[in-house]
């Protein structure tokens, strides 16, 4: 409890941290808005009785402890707490109250986020990750400089591959020659590597040069449709600008003359950064690919790539007592482009379709499906799963490899 109080005290005493609170509250509101307006939403998933587990959980029946009504209530509590936190951070000096409200907002939002793996997204990950760091990690201004730099670096590392550097995403947004698309992709990677490093520098020339570069970079990304992530990072840049200005006013001496609240320790930011960088490095060098459970845990702290040059195909049939019917899943609005071919998400969507189809028709028996994908630089497709009885309750993604297409079934 003391730990939480000392963190709230640090927020109360710093106007730049209040700005950070505003930025993160806006990000939370953006997330709530996305959940309200898309089908990729906890409000939609809570109405389904089938649990869609995160990969690290062996089972997740606990995720449906609450009825859809309670989930809806929690969602509105989340929205109201976030709005109030924003108001308190922005318009009043009671940043401590704002921080307390932000605790409520973060906990309720994270509870909703955890409910279903299909809600996993880069904006969601960044929003809740940064929110918890804001609330829990001492020496916030110092740690956030490094954390923001680390987040940019993790994104940049994810761009060091042929999917991004071939320029496919840029060419999809702008009608430019292929080579130009490649250069823009390379340039954006360079910006995400180098500009954030200048945010660590005290020299105002380097700091503000990097700051302005990143500011215009995110404005450009926002103009081509990357709204949620750009809004989050613009908010963080605004915070960093204020933080730099605040430090220069020599407020630290005033803040840390208190004997009750000595200067916050910097060990915790170092620990968090170490863990974060361990995860990024493990993913980049694919160290733990042979350990699926550990790999899943590590991937919780690794953002998804912005784009993947990949083709995937889902062949699915609804099996009824009368026969087989080819069908296609409805596209899920709100899902990031790089996650469209995620095999686990496709599996979850099909499981959800099992439930809906059973309600629609008494004749419905099961769903049969084959899902395969091919990266642009691979010569062969990879079959991620194939089963003629996907609706079998015993069939989970973890054991789907043991189930083959022609397993004996009563069709």
């Amino acid at each position: 409890m003391e730990f939480i109080k000392s963190n709230i005290y640090e927020i109360k005493k710093s106007s730049s941290l209040a700005i950070l609170g505003v930025a993160l509250s806006v990000a939370q509101l953006f997330q709530a808005y996305v959940w309200m307006t898309s089908t990729n939403s906890p409000l939609v998933f809570s109405a389904q009785t089938t649990s869609m587990c995160w990969p690290i959980f062996s089972s997740c029946n606990w995720a449906h402890w609450a009825s859809p009504g309670i989930i809806s209530g929690i969602f509105w509590l989340y929205v109201i707490a976030t709005v109030l936190a924003l108001v308190f951070f922005l318009f009043t000096r009671a940043a401590g109250v704002g921080a307390s409200l932000f605790w409520v907002s973060t906990l309720t939002g994270f509870l909703l986020y955890l409910q279903d793996f299909r809600l996993s997204s880069n904006p969601g990950f960044f929003t809740f990750f940064l929110s918890f760091l804001f609330l829990l990690i001492p020496s916030k201004i110092f740690s956030f400089r490094w954390i923001i730099f680390s987040l940019y670096l993790s994104q940049a590392l994810l761009k060091l591959n042929s999917d991004w550097l071939s320029g496919g995403w840029v060419l999809a947004q702008f009608h430019v020659p292929d080579k130009f698309g490649e250069w823009i992709s390379g340039l954006s990677t360079l910006i995400e590597f180098i500009a954030p490093a200048t945010l660590l520098m005290r020299d105002g020339r380097y700091f503000w040069s990097g700051w302005l570069t990143l500011f215009f970079y995110h404005v450009l990304l926002m103009s081509v449709g990357v709204h949620q992530m750009s809004a989050l990072f613009l908010g963080l840049l605004v915070f960093l600008g204020f933080a730099d200005w605040e430090e220069r006013k020599l407020e630290r001496e005033y803040i840390y003359q208190s004997f009750i609240r000595p200067e916050p320790s910097r060990i915790w930011p170092a620990v968090v950064l170490l863990i974060f960088w361990f995860c990024q490095g493990s993913r980049y060098f694919q160290i733990f690919n042979h350990e699926p459970r550990l790999n899943s845990s590590i991937n919780l702290l690794v953002p998804y790539p912005m784009t993947v040059m990949e083709e995937c195909e889902l062949l699915a049939w609804k099996v009824s007592k009368q026969g087989w019917e080819e069908f296609q899943l409805e596209p899920n609005t709100g899902r990031a482009e790089s996650m469209v071919c995620h095999p686990y998400l496709q599996f979850l969507d099909l499981k959800s379709a099992c439930e809906l189809s059973a309600k629609e028709s008494e004749d419905f028996v099961t769903i049969a499906a084959i899902f395969k994908s091919r990266r642009s630089f691979d010569s062969e497709s990879k079959i991620h799963f194939q089963t003629s009885n996907l609706c079998d309750p015993a069939l989970q993604f973890s054991n789907i490899g043991q189930n083959s297409w022609n397993s004996k079934q009563e069709h």
């Binding site: 940049a156 060091l160 591959n161 042929s162 550097l165 071939s166 320029g167 496919g168 292929d178 080579k179 490649e182 250069w183 390379g186 990677t189 360079l190 590597f193 180098i194 490093a197 520098m201 005290r202 020299d203 105002g204 020339r205 380097y206 430090e247 220069r248 020599l250 630290r252 001496e253 040059m309 062949l315 049939w317 009368q322 026969g323 087989w324 019917e325 080819e326 069908f327 296609q328 049969a368 084959i370 395969k372 091919r374 642009s376 630089f377 691979d378 010569s379 062969e380 497709s381 079959i383 194939q386 003629s388 083959s404 297409w405 022609n406 069709h411």
Partner: protein, 482 residues
């Protein structure tokens, strides 16, 4: 309090420069083409999928009760598209309707018959896809095709059947096979290129014709077809061989007597050596007609019978490199394919209005015609042999060995005619209008009919002697006594 300096310490500057250099190195390592003319994207296109594979893979497919063999020739009775019944069998002239089985449930109004054999009837409609009914009228299974592959704009699917599987060939080379007895999908192959004509079987292969080089037309070259051989049971790709020049839509038919396969492509008719087809396309001869041929050539022994757009009949001799044997002007547009009547030098067809017209192709002239007042839509007819007793009874020529014309007539009948003089030999009464070419067995007929109330049903017709032999009850249908 830490006193701030504006300048960077020298070691931080070195670290920063080193960091930037490392970033540059990693960037060029991830994209070695960054500074060259070629692009990373072009490298991706060189990694095209090496081979197409069926889904699911062969080891995962459902087990088949029997190896797929043979071919259902329906709506024809022979592989050469000639509706000639078994020449070894002589039949009686009377048939009794021993069973009428309504299709249950009734298919939608727009359903069409796409397959018919001794075990089942396949119906295809735009809403429910493919439905299989057993010969007793009950629904065996349905297979609903995705709307993406069955739109109004997509080409009509080809449907083939053999002893074990139903083959659905849809747009963009999507080939779905379905087990005949269970309706479960067996294998799916996606060729990602349009199939140019109806595929055909050769031994254990399904041969599909596609375009080899899609960009040839853009480069002003005549595009070449490609023949893709797929294993019938598992869908695996056996081989691809270069085909022939693709000069437009074409149809093909097997000519067993010529050991060739005849292709008709607009005004061009050519024959390919069937025995060498496993390895290469060997064109035996090519003929150019003065006008475009209609789809579906008929092959009877060495003769290739074609009708053209100008309503002419042309008969080529396949044994003489496609030499034209006969040309006859047709008085009326044909309603369905012409049927040769063996040993009589006669060809018979129904025109669109339901008039039976018989030609003497040896003399190159019309023989006779007769308005059959056909009320139903069926315009297919076939030829079959009658027993010797009827040759004598109806004063037919013994040299014709009893070959007669069997045709829909009136509203709910089949009629048998003497091809020589057009004499009516007998009528076969049905409970409804025949809707499709019936299955003709040695002693029975199975026909899809539409009853007066509009229901589709399967009519089982049998010769009285066969009814008696099998000990079945003989319903009185009012047909002429023998």
């Amino acid at each position: 309090m830490e006193f701030e300096t504006r300048a960077l310490k020298w070691y931080w500057t070195i670290l920063f420069v080193g960091y930037v250099a490392a970033v540059g190195y990693l960037l060029f390592k991830a994209n070695p083409y960054l500074y060259s003319q070629s692009t990373l994207k072009s490298r991706a296109s060189s990694f095209e999928e090496g081979t197409v594979t069926p889904q699911p893979s062969p080891k995962n497919q459902f087990p088949l009760e029997e190896t797929p063999t043979g071919l259902s020739t329906w709506p024809y009775l022979t592989s050469g598209h000639a509706n000639i019944a078994n020449p070894e069998v002589t039949r009686g002239k009377s048939f009794r309707e021993i069973q009428v089985a309504n299709l249950n449930p009734q298919p939608p109004k727009d359903a069409g018959v796409v397959g018919f054999d001794a075990t089942q009837v396949l119906m295809l409609d735009s809403e429910n896809g493919l439905a299989s009914y057993s010969i007793d009228g009950s629904l065996m299974w349905r297979y609903k095709i995705s709307k993406d592959h069955l739109t109004a704009e997509s080409p009509k699917p080809y449907v083939l059947m053999d002893s074990a599987l139903v083959y659905l060939i849809l747009s963009k080379g999507r080939i779905q096979t379905i087990q005949k007895t269970t309706g479960r999908p067996q294998w799916l192959m996606e060729l990602d290129t349009d199939v140019l004509s109806e595929p055909w079987f050769k031994e254990n292969s399904l041969i599909v014709t596609t375009l080899k080089d899609v960009s040839a037309a853009k480069n002003k070259k005549t595009p070449i077809t490609e023949l893709i051989f797929l294993d019938r049971s598992q869908g695996t790709l056996q081989k691809k061989i270069d085909g022939f020049e693709n000069k437009g839509p074409f149809v093909q038919v097997l000519a067993p007597a010529l050991k060739a396969r005849i292709f008709v492509q607009g005004t061009r008719v050519f024959a390919i050596n069937e025995s060498k087809l496993n390895n290469a396309v060997d064109i035996l001869w090519t003929v150019n007609l003065p006008e475009e041929a209609m789809p579906q050539p008929i092959v009877y022994e060495n003769l290739i019978i074609l009708t053209t757009q100008g309503n002419h009949l042309t008969i080529l001799d396949g044994a003489k490199k496609g030499q034209t044997e006969t040309e006859i002007d047709l008085e009326a547009e044909i309603g369905a394919e012409i049927t040769p009547i063996p040993l009589t030098q006669r060809l018979a067809y129904l025109d669109k209005r339901g008039t039976l017209r018989v030609l003497d192709y040896q003399k190159g002239e019309k023989a006779w015609k007769y308005d059959l007042s056909i009320r139903g839509p069926l315009r297919h007819l076939w030829s079959a042999r009658l027993k010797g007793a009827f040759i004598q009874e109806f004063d037919m020529k013994w040299v014709h060995k009893g070959w007669t014309i069997w045709s829909p007539c009136g509203s709910k009948q089949f009629c048998i005619y003497n091809p020589e003089r057009g004499q009516l030999i007998n009528r076969i009464e049905l409970s409804g209008e025949p809707m499709a070419q019936p299955l003709v067995f040695d002693r029975k007929l199975i026909a899809l009919i539409k009853k007066p109330g509009g229901e589709l049903a399967i009519s089982h017709q049998m010769e009285p002697s066969e009814i008696k032999r099998l000990g079945l009850s003989d319903p009185s249908t009012g047909s002429s006594a023998e």
